[in-house]
């Protein structure tokens, strides 16, 4: 059982390394992920529209504030779920 698991893991690792050769080299700045207009708009518009210097906080709370609301709901739901599973009835 463990040798089969080891074989599957090595096979998956080899496939990932083979597929990873198409990825851009480490530290590339000409990728489309950096040069497209959405990222450039976020970088250029942070100080002007949001008034905060930190780009990541402006993204989280202003440009993508709705996702962060769902995020906070997720962690609240986890607290409620653990309360339901583990809290005993006070006698």
């Amino acid at each position: 059982m463990k040798t089969l698991a080891l074989f599957v893991v090595l096979l998956a690792g080899a496939m990932l390394v083979y597929a990873g050769q198409d990825l851009p080299p480490f530290g590339d700045s000409t990728t489309d992920m950096y040069q497209n207009r959405v990222t450039q708009r976020y970088i250029a518009g942070t100080e002007v529209e949001s008034g905060v210097p930190n780009m990541v906080t402006a993204l989280l709370a202003n440009y993508r504030g709705y996702d962060t609301l769902g995020e906070t709901t997720v962690i609240f739901t986890a607290g409620v779920a653990v309360m339901l599973l583990l809290r005993r009835r006070e006698t």
């Binding site: 008034g51 905060v52 210097p53 402006a58 504030g65 906070t72 609240f76 607290g79 653990v82 005993r88």
Partner: protein
């Protein structure tokens, strides 16, 4: 009590450190807009301070510092602050979570945006810290030695028969 809980060095150091950890958590939350940090990171650090206190001094003393009812109320309050800020922007004619339309300062929507981002981060920090403390208190074992399983589970009921 375990040996760590009885040691004088550990108890004294924890008593000195816990206020500074809480102050650092507040620093991380409030400086989320000017540097690295934000609501989630500061909330976890605040929760870790109370968890450290409860680990060393016992669960009963931890529950004195942060009672369970206050914990439940705080977890909902943070989320209400976040959604309430969004609804406030709706009242003043903008879209949901459009921070620029709230007339706190007359002619500077960027500054109003920065202030409301800070308010939202405080809300997130309150919720995350309350949930971390609640998770710790739920997972920890009860104080008494006897714990009774609820008698409604079918498999355990069947096993006795």
């Amino acid at each position: 009590m375990s040996r760590i809980q009885e040691s004088v060095i550990v108890r004294t150091i924890v008593r000195i450190m816990v206020p500074f950890i809480e102050l650092f958590a507040l620093y991380v939350i409030m400086h989320g807009s000017g540097g690295p940090g934000g609501g989630f990171q500061g909330g976890v650090i605040f929760g870790a301070a109370i968890i450290l206190y409860a680990m060393i001094y016992g669960i009963a003393k931890g529950k004195e510092r942060m009672p369970v009812t206050l914990d439940k109320i705080l977890a909902s309050t943070g989320l209400t602050i976040y959604a309430g800020t969004g609804l406030l922007c709706l009242f003043f004619g903008g879209k949901f979570l459009q921070y620029g339309v709230v007339p706190l300062l007359p002619d500077d929507p960027a500054e109003v945006s920065a202030l409301l981002i800070d308010a939202v981060e405080i809300g997130i920090g309150i919720t995350v810290s309350a949930v971390m403390i609640s998770l710790f208190f739920d997972v920890s074992p009860p104080e008494s030695e006897e714990e009774e399983l609820p008698a409604e589970l079918p498999i355990s009921t069947y096993r006795e028969a």
